[in-house]
């Protein structure tokens, strides 16, 4: 008989519990999803059966998520644990990983993030007990890559940074391939390592992966460190790959979910990061620009500066400089004023 994995969801908000129960029940492995509205209740439920995964909120009355996780890690060391929180605080993230928690997730805010969350949970449920790097998640991504290479392991590191995600393939201790958005190989590897924050997980290796990286991991890590140092000190990098792309720089701004850069008057010519289907947004951006530029000329309202479009799922801002337009997606938690101010920063970064 096929065994279904059991997941325990812990959150003091009954509406969120119901929503995540619905999302997780539809995973391909069809797990049994149980819920608990408090830490104490969660402990009691965990005693009643063998659970595969615990997903807990951090902010809860009486016993908070950190307390619950520290107890669970002692009493149920085999249990996989995920923190799902709206607290975007690096200190919390560090404390959570220091407890040996497998994943730290900010509550998904849009459809794309929900999909990534579902994929991560499915991968965590499927993962072989002996595989992965449980217990060393407090290490940096560079540490993990070195560890994988030194031990001649074969694995795929999946790294998530907000709306961005990337993968690094390691085969028998050698870097084989990397992929993120629209880039592959060494460029993708350098871009992933340039991300300042994010979470990662280890998945089983893929022996048949075509090789695109031919440098040693040491050489590449050194190159990355050098490029990041140069970027931090403001020096002009001779190895400009991670730093020179304006779009790549724009993606690093806090709150950015995606960036779409397009050539004005040349439909179909664009560069996108963090967008799955950029075509529709490209069309909307072009129409917006043409429409409002023409309106501004007709009204003699001065030069077109910027559009901020605020929505329940995400905000978008559109600006233009010379023959290039930029459409940037922002987290919906930001206010219109914050979007306006941060967009100025993005435009500056992008132009420079």
């Amino acid at each position: 008989m096929e065994t279904r994995h059991k997941i325990l969801l812990v959150d003091d908000d009954p509406d969120l519990l119901e929503m995540y129960r619905e999302i997780l029940s539809q995973l391909p492995s069809r797990p049994e999803v149980h819920t608990a509205s408090s830490g104490a209740r969660a402990m009691a439920v965990l005693e009643s059966g063998a659970f595969r995964l615990l997903i807990s909120d951090l902010k809860m009355p009486k016993m908070d998520g950190l307390q619950l996780l520290s107890v669970v890690r002692r009493k149920h060391p085999e249990l996989r644990t995920v923190v799902l929180t709206s607290v975007a605080d690096e200190q919390f993230r560090s404390r959570v990983y220091a407890l040996g928690v497998d994943l730290f997730w900010q509550k998904p805010a849009n459809e794309h993030e929900i999909k990534m969350f579902r994929d991560c949970i499915e991968s965590l449920l499927d993962r072989n007990d002996l595989a992965g790097f449980r217990g060393v998640q407090s290490k940096s991504l560079v540490d993990i890559i070195q560890l994988e290479c030194i031990t001649h392991s074969s694995s795929i590191l999946r790294i998530t940074n907000g709306a961005l995600s990337g993968k690094i393939w390691i085969d028998s201790g050698e870097l084989v391939d990397a992929e993120t958005d629209d880039t592959r190989g060494e460029d993708a590897f350098l871009r992933i390592l340039a991300w300042k924050a994010g979470s990662f997980e280890t998945m089983p290796g893929e022996a048949s992966r075509a090789r695109t990286i031919f440098k040693s991991y040491n050489a590449l890590l050194l190159e990355t460190a050098q490029a990041l140092d140069e970027a931090a000190s403001g020096a002009v990098s001779t190895n400009a790959r991670p730093a020179t792309s304006g779009v790549a720089a724009a993606v690093q701004v806090d709150g950015v979910e995606f960036v779409l850069s397009l050539k004005v008057g040349e439909p179909g010519k664009f560069e996108a990061r963090g967008l799955e289907n950029p075509d529709r947004l490209e069309g909307w951006t072009r129409q917006c620009l043409e429409r409002f530029r023409a309106l501004g000329e007709r009204l003699q309202a001065g030069p077109f500066e910027q559009i901020e479009a605020l929505g329940p799922q995400r905000h978008v801002a559109v600006a233009q400089s010379a023959d290039t337009a930029l459409c940037v997606g922002w987290r919906p938690a930001l206010t219109g004023e914050e979007v306006r101010e941060r967009m100025k920063k993005v435009v500056t970064l992008w132009a420079s």
Binding site: W284, G296, Q300, A301, G302, E305, A309, L310
Partner: protein
């Protein structure tokens, strides 16, 4: 020279920028507004049409929007989506307001 000046057209005063707000329904009809009647109604209808089209096309691009703010050098247009229609604010920008 004086004769030539006599036939010359008087210099056109620069057209004023619209100021005020108006509500437009989903068909593009301006329902009510506070924009001075001296401002051409056709231009108001034009602004309304651009705003509604932008909301509709965003929806079609799977980007539902609640508010749209368009900044020009000397005018700010703010539009709030209202069940297919919109409430539109037109605010000429002064030195003090544009500094914000």
């Amino acid at each position: 020279m004086g004769l030539l000046n006599f036939f010359a057209k008087p210099a056109q005063p620069p057209p004023g920028l619209p100021s005020g707000c108006f509500t437009v329904d989903r068909t593009g009809r301006v329902v009510i507004g506070t924009v001075p009647s001296s401002f051409p109604a056709a231009t108001i209808t034009d602004i309304a049409r651009h705003v509604l089209d932008t909301f509709r096309e965003a929806q079609a691009a799977q980007l539902p929007l609640a508010e749209l703010v368009v900044h020009f050098g000397s005018l700010k247009i703010t539009a709030r989506e209202q069940r297919g229609g919109a409430l539109v604010f037109l605010a000429p920008r002064t030195l003090t307001s544009s500094a914000k």
